[in-house]
Symmetry: none
Subunit: 404 residues, 2 copies
């Protein structure tokens, strides 16, 4: 039986409320031999109390050894195996700029590039032009290109990156990319990757647009060309509220997380600017939903910066908000990260992420604090991120018995 | 996405070197109530220091509860799920005698047997004839049988066992076996198991050979017949160096391990006679490879003998060599076994195998020694043997991020 069919079949509605609190990039690694992780170093009386009262363990995002991007990592937390449900790069890029992607839009990640007089790529990132110049050039392409019968969106991302979206009928994502992925080569034409008329037609449209874009940019320096990668459409995922029979709200401030939540059908809330704001939003919508996904970004950002102390402070800031969350009397609270972002590594890593289940039926274990070494002794052991939602549902009395 | 496709896609090359040190049958069980395991009893200052500095846990070979043979257990360690990649018994037998198996060879495991005057099997193992007699009879079959257009190899294994290999064009492994697996029955004819002309032709060839072999043996006592089992060809496994982008060397003294390493495409080294010899080989080839599989056999042999003290001594002998290994400054070292061989059981068992990851990004846990009870508290928890290679790659910075 399909996993979602099973969960949907067993899911029942009740009044219990569920919170999934994600501190992005929570997992950590000591900065020096014999040192503590950020989570171990942080002063977290509330997390430690919840760890004492509840169950702890580790969450493995995607698979052992895999350091995931935020898109696949969050799909896993929502119960969608990221190796099974592949959200293309173009869609993630569109979500990452808060673009309101429609089911039939074709999205791609665009790069400004430098080519020589023969059209050969000399810099795939156009010297990493400043974001302001990237935005100006994206506007130029937005205003100067057209494809009859189709709407075009050219939206700046960061530096040399932009998002290209084509809107209209009969589009396909089965397209090859223009970027040869190395310098010294000519860009490639976009080719259809299957025999459908949609793929053929989409390839023609995109090649036409690329030609127009390059003509418009030819006198710019250094960004005198473009490449498109990762053509993708909304993967039409089975919707989260339907699978789990939950009215689901997402509280997140960063576009990517708002976007992924929207892809799975959660109601994405206006979520303020600060961590405290997010808890205020939680309070304000408490009566209207059953499930609350609360996303805290700066743990990851400070990890990416390599700023251990700042990461510690963010964790302490979240901890200080937890009494507000508990005052709402949720049935079950899960606290973890989507992946690890050790400040010592300044990047996402594969390290399993500390995981905490708190609620009436969360088995208390011997663990009295929330940290990497402590939860190694926890009752939950190591589980895949896709197991978190079924466990959350179970702890809230929302899954019926399987079989007689 | 296929697992190997994913790993290959994420794999990158760098200068970091990886060591997978396998003490065969390492996992153990106390000889008496309240006793220690061999690994716990052994005096292992170097292993204990590495456990203190690194991460520990358990490696589950194949699946929970399954006691594997050496072939499937090693495939798992190399990342090949042994339930998915089935290396047939004939191939394992050929590898086990160091036979240089070619891609189109058809191999089978042969047994000398005793039959009565009506051809009914009275002893499937011919009274477990001595190895010397088995070798003499194998030579007799080698010299006295022929199949036009094909090369035949009949090579002694141990006691009543031999390996039969047929070399030539158009062979198939889709063949039934001659051994009815009980006495009091007639041997079975070999039948093709699919509709291919290769299977039909192979069945005819093998039946012809079996007839010749039995005719040659009819006056021998007790080994007056043969049976063939486990017809198999090289499974043409996707090659390890290609999947992981690693220059890979195998240091192993026993044919089976050399053979499995060769099947997956490692460069198998002349590996000396002693444990110290193997570490000398490691030193001598250090600059030429990225990945080193180092296989120590006697831990398993002493376990099979039921000789607890001798198993302890072997573990101590390996521990004493570890400073030589660390002096090479590897990036990551994994130490574990392919399965458990408790001296108390004198056989392979299903018990999970202590596992140690050592390296810059191996999270130190609370575990200060390398032994079954100690690593139960480790940061790695229980993982499947097939997860070891992805984790090794990750710890060496050789896997890129998955998705955006």
């Amino acid at each position: 039986m399909d996993r979602f069919d099973l969960l949907h079949k067993l899911a029942v509605e009740n009044d219990n409320k569920l919170i999934l609190l994600i501190m992005d990039g929570l997992g950590d690694f000591p900065m020096e031999t014999g040192g503590l992780t950020a989570l171990e170093a942080a002063d977290t009386p509330n997390l430690d109390r919840m760890a004492t009262e509840g169950s702890t363990g580790f969450n493995i995002p995607v698979r052992r050894g895999i350091a995931p991007g935020s898109g696949p990592a969050h799909l896993g937390l929502f119960g969608y195996d990221p190796l099974q449900f592949d959200v293309g790069r173009g869609v993630l890029s569109a979500l990452g700029i808060d673009f309101d992607l429609q089911p039939r839009d074709l999205a791609a990640r665009g790069n400004f590039a430098t080519v020589d007089k023969d059209g050969i790529i000399t810099d795939r990132r156009a010297g990493r032009i400043p974001t302001e110049l990237g935005a100006k050039l994206a506007r130029k392409l937005q205003e100067g290109t057209s494809l009859p019968g189709y709407e075009i969106f050219v939206l700046p991302e960061k530096e040399y990156r932009f998002v290209f979206i084509l809107r209209g009928e009969g589009l396909s994502e089965a397209l090859s990319e223009t970027d040869p992925l190395q310098t010294g080569k000519l860009p490639l034409p976009v080719l259809p990757l299957d025999d459908s008329s949609e793929a053929k037609h989409s390839a023609e449209l995109v090649n036409d647009w690329v030609k127009q874009a390059r003509a418009l940019l030819k006198d710019e320096r250094p960004a005198n060309s473009v490449n498109l990668r990762g053509f993708a459409m909304d993967p039409a995922l089975r919707q989260f509220p339907e699978i789990y029979k939950l009215r689901a709200a997402a509280i997140a401030q960063y576009p990517m997380y708002r976007g992924v939540s929207k892809l799975v059908g959660m109601d994405v809330q206006p979520s303020g600017k600060s961590i405290a704001d997010e808890f205020s939003v939680l309070e304000s919508i408490w009566e209207q939903y059953d499930f609350f996904f609360l996303h805290v970004k700066p743990t990851d950002s400070r990890g990416e910066d390599g700023n251990f102390e700042a990461k510690v402070k963010i964790i302490e800031e979240v901890d200080a908000q937890l009494p507000r969350l508990l005052a709402l009397q949720p049935s079950v609270v899960v606290i973890t990260g989507d992946h690890s972002t050790p400040a010592a590594m300044r990047s996402h890593s594969w390290h399993p992420v500390p995981l905490l289940f708190w609620g009436q039926f969360a088995m208390p274990d011997d663990v009295k604090s929330f940290g990497e070494r402590a939860v190694s002794h926890g009752y939950l052991g190591h589980l895949h991120s896709t197991d978190i939602m079924p466990l959350l549902m179970a702890h809230a009395g929302r899954l019926e018995r399987f079989g007689a």
